[in-house]
């Protein structure tokens, strides 16, 4: 992005920080921190290394949960997209499970997996697997008929059909699903960590509040979560540049 294009949004951010700062000063709030307090709080966390530990814990949970979800969702989505019976059987179940907030799964996750790392990983899995299954299935359903006809015309083997037509045609949709899935996973990990865990950014936020109303650290945690979420999405966007999906975005 050009510096010039980023200028307006930087200006808005600066204005928001200014309003925040002035409001805190004007109201003489003792609990709500100034932006500067947030900066010093962050530096404090950086110095003693706890920030990196929490970030690492959150990212690890997202990595494992999201990775498992990709491994399950992509083959399942391809199967449901290709085999009519599979779609008719499983789609209604997924349509019921999908709108259930991952937060609602927390009690069951604790029941099944205890209060260790497995619970948040399960929650991340369950929240990111559905959007990816749906996107992959939609991807298969929207392969243009003319391409399938051409493949049929050339009488290629099933293997070639999948390797050369179906999977490459669906790959851009799979990437869209992965972007959505990772976004949801990042939302969920923070929520999951607020309950019964001793590491992660979500825990850090709750712990800062409980241990002496350190709202500077609460806000620092929130901003860091936002920035990491932005970076994760940026990484997923970079995947769109790969040559096997670039055809979708050309023109």
């Amino acid at each position: 992005m050009q510096v010039k294009e980023a200028l307006p949004s930087l200006a808005v951010i600066a204005a928001l920080i200014a309003v925040w700062w002035l409001t805190v000063l004007a109201t003489h709030s003792v609990i709500f921190p100034t932006p500067w307090a947030v900066v010093t709080g962050t530096l404090e966390l950086l110095k003693d290394g706890t920030l990196w530990r929490h970030i690492g814990a959150s990212l690890l949970r997202v990595g494992v949960g999201f990775g498992l979800a990709v491994c399950v969702a992509v083959p399942l989505g391809l199967w449901m997209g290709w085999v009519r019976g599979a779609y008719q059987t499983l789609n209604p179940i997924f349509q019921i499970l999908r709108p259930i907030s991952p937060i609602a799964w927390i009690p069951i996750a604790i029941l099944w997996f205890g209060v260790g790392d497995a619970s948040p990983i399960y929650l991340i899995f369950i929240s990111s697997v559905f959007p990816m299954v749906v996107q992959t299935t939609v991807g298969v359903h929207t392969i243009e008929k003319r391409y399938l006809r051409a493949a049929e015309n050339f009488g290629v083997s099933r293997r070639t059909l999948f390797k050369r037509v179906v999977i490459p045609a669906v790959l851009p949709q799979i990437l869209v699903g992965m972007r959505i899935g990772l976004g949801v996973a990042w939302l969920v990990v923070v929520a999951a960590e607020m309950i019964a865990l001793h590491s992660g950014l979500g825990y850090m936020i709750m712990d800062s509040r409980n241990a002496g109303n350190r709202y500077d650290l609460v806000i620092a945690g929130m901003i860091i979560i936002g920035l990491i979420g932005l970076s994760l999405d940026g990484i997923m966007r970079l995947l769109e540049e790969f040559k096997w999906v670039r055809w979708r975005y050309a023109h």
Binding site: Y147, N153, F154, V156, V165, P168, V245, R246, W247, A250
Partner: protein, 253 residues
């Protein structure tokens, strides 16, 4: 010459909201081996449906299509369909597209064959390009080459050049004739462009509006290369257009 394609009494009716919609009504004709037959008809008359039945993608309600005397039930690489929208895979390079239909050869040989046909259609140097990097005309060449690679006996062409501009369409016609002179294929061409039909075909079938039947047949006995502006060809053009319901005044000549 022996019969390559025999179309026997085809009918097709589609179900629609307003009831049954008969599209093709008892169409029968034969195509000889190596012959170039063009089918012209008013738009929406069921030309494409007819072609899809003959190429094996759609089953007729009644009737049969025989290729070399054997009934055709499904598409095969003996006859490749080239359609208006094109079906060059956008996620494969030109070379990968051309190699797509080749099963059971060594990979090195595959590439050789693919590059050979890329050369024939004038895509030398573009083997590694992706379709979105090509112009409309080049895309058509790639599609044609991909069909030729598998050495089909029949080319089914459904308005193949109608998405191109006039100049490129003319160029592709000449290109097609040049290739056909080298590799003798049986060709069925569907077009709404009467001039294109006269330029290319040995015989022209004129279809009626829906439900479509064969309304008239024109032999095109003129030697190639043909000049579409010559008086005999123009006369035939007027005669065909009249069959299609365009009268002399509308032709402006």
């Amino acid at each position: 010459m022996r019969t390559k394609i025999e179309v026997r009494n085809l009918t097709k009716t589609f179900a629609s909201d307003k009831g049954r919609l008969p599209v093709v009504e008892s169409v029968s004709f034969e195509v000889r081996d190596g012959e170039f037959v063009a089918i012209v008809g008013p738009s929406g008359c069921g030309k494409s449906t007819l072609m899809n039945i003959i190429a094996g993608f759609v089953a007729p309600d009644t009737g049969a299509v025989l290729i070399d005397g054997a009934p055709r039930t499904k598409p095969s690489s003996k006859g490749i369909l080239i359609s208006q929208q094109g079906s060059v895979f956008p996620w494969l390079t030109v070379r990968e597209n051309l190699m797509f239909g080749l099963n059971g050869h060594g990979p090195a040989n595959n590439m050789e064959i693919a590059d050979h046909y890329a050369g024939i259609v004038g895509l030398k140097g573009f083997e590694d390009s992706y379709p979105h990097e090509l112009s409309g005309g080049m895309l058509k060449r790639a599609e044609l080459a991909r069909a030729l690679v598998v050495k089909p006996e029949i080319l089914y062409m459904d308005e193949p050049f109608s998405a191109l501009d006039a100049l490129m369409s003319l160029r592709m016609r000449n290109e097609l004739l040049r290739i056909l002179a080298k590799e003798r294929h049986t060709v069925m061409l569907i077009t709404h462009d009467v001039e294109e039909a006269i330029h290319l075909a040995d015989r022209i079938l004129v279809l009626s509006p829906r439900p479509t039947r064969i309304q008239a047949t024109f032999e095109v006995p003129f030697p190639r290369p043909r000049r579409v502006s010559s008086s005999e060809l123009q006369e035939m053009r007027v005669a065909i257009l009249r069959e299609l319901g365009v009268d002399r005044d509308e032709l402006g000549s």
